[in-house]
Amino acid sequence: MSAPIGQPRVRLPQQVKVGETIEVRTLISHIMETGQRRNQEGAIVPRDIIRNFVCTMDGAVVFSMDLAPAISANPYIAFPLKVTGPATLEMVWTNDAGEQRKASAQLRPS
């Protein structure tokens, strides 16, 4: 039984220009249980982390990362992105059980 993946937060700069490199910032609520800890009874608390994060821009992967148990709860992920034109960003967080949480954002260069 894996913990629910919370509602993600995604933020892009308010104004973006074509050719500019922006920072895409994300934050998601998750316990990131390491699998190393024991509960009061001494039994190991099973590992439950967000294993993978992928961001695609109009279907093409622009950023992806594998997460490890040492990453703290509620992971904050930020990455640079070069703006080539209007586009849709799709972000997917996947946990150990394969469950996914998605978010999308629109890039509208001025």
Binding site: R9, L27, M32, S72
Partner: protein
């Protein structure tokens, strides 16, 4: 010779009346309090000062959703009575804990939220320090951000304040320490890898990196009592509620920083 004792008696009587009406102002060991952020590292503050990166805002968002979401037998939401929290809840965190004349005791912000739930919404009280209660307290607390802490300890509230002050100044645990042993006598000095703060409560509820979640003040107080190897009273109980009241007075004038980030 005959007038003088009468005058003296009158003066004493007047002094006695004044004493009953207004006990002397309590002693303030730290006249110019400093917020916990003064003792936090730059890295920690960079998380706190960025509302997007501050993970406590995940709790703020949960609280905001719950604010508008009807619950309980009366099928009412917080917003049904209190409308827009940005206006109605502004300043609330700054003046809590406060004396409740009907209950005849001091209540914390968390207890006040639960009172609303049980008495007006017909909903069960949320467990103290549970995620939904911390989320609501964080959301309400945020509406007072930057406002100076100012609690009313006058009149019937005073005995509860005094009880909190007594708890604060009582040595406890195997280490035989009072709260002030760290937070008055030794703030600014290192305790192992950490810098001792003045123990000011203006940043609560706070996202504690150690716990990786938002914690309530009374959860932190339990940690403090455990650290001096004492037996902590229950969260939400009388002792900690009075102590929280005293701590709020102690932090008077400091801006509400909720939700802060601390190590």
């Amino acid at each position: 010779m005959r007038v003088a004792p009468q005058l003296l008696a009158l003066t004493l009587l007047a002094a006695g009346v004044a004493l009953a009406a207004d006990p002397p102002a309590p002693n303030r060991p730290i006249p110019n309090p400093q917020s916990g952020r003064h003792f936090a590292t730059e890295a920690t503050l960079s998380i706190q000062d960025d509302d997007f990166q501050n993970p406590a805002f995940l709790w703020v968002e949960e609280g905001e959703q719950a604010w508008a979401h009807p619950a309980g037998a009366a099928n009412t939401a917080c917003a049904t009575c209190h409308q827009d929290a940005a206006q109605t809840m502004r300043g609330v965190r700054a003046r809590y804990p406060a004396f409740d004349p009907r209950l005849g005791r001091v209540v914390t912000l968390e207890q006040r939220i639960n009172q609303c739930r049980t008495e007006h919404m017909g909903a069960p009280a949320l467990p103290i320090d549970s995620r939904p209660l911390n989320a609501m307290a964080t959301y309400v607390g945020l509406q007072s951000r930057g406002m100076p802490v100012q609690v009313d300890i006058s009149g019937p509230a005073r005995p509860f304040f005094d009880a909190g002050e007594r708890f604060y100044n009582t040595r406890r645990g195997q280490l035989d320490m009072r709260c002030g042993s760290c937070h008055e006598d030794n703030y600014g000095r290192s305790l192992r890898a950490d810098l001792l703060s003045q123990g000011m409560s203006n940043g609560f509820p706070t996202y504690r990196l150690k716990e990786q979640r938002v914690i309530s003040l009374q959860f932190r107080l339990q940690g403090c009592v455990n650290d001096v190897r004492g037996q902590a009273p229950p969260m939400g109980g009388e002792e900690f509620t009075n102590l929280e009241f005293y701590l709020a007075w102690r932090a008077e004038g400091l801006p509400v920083e909720a939700p802060s980030v601390r190590r």
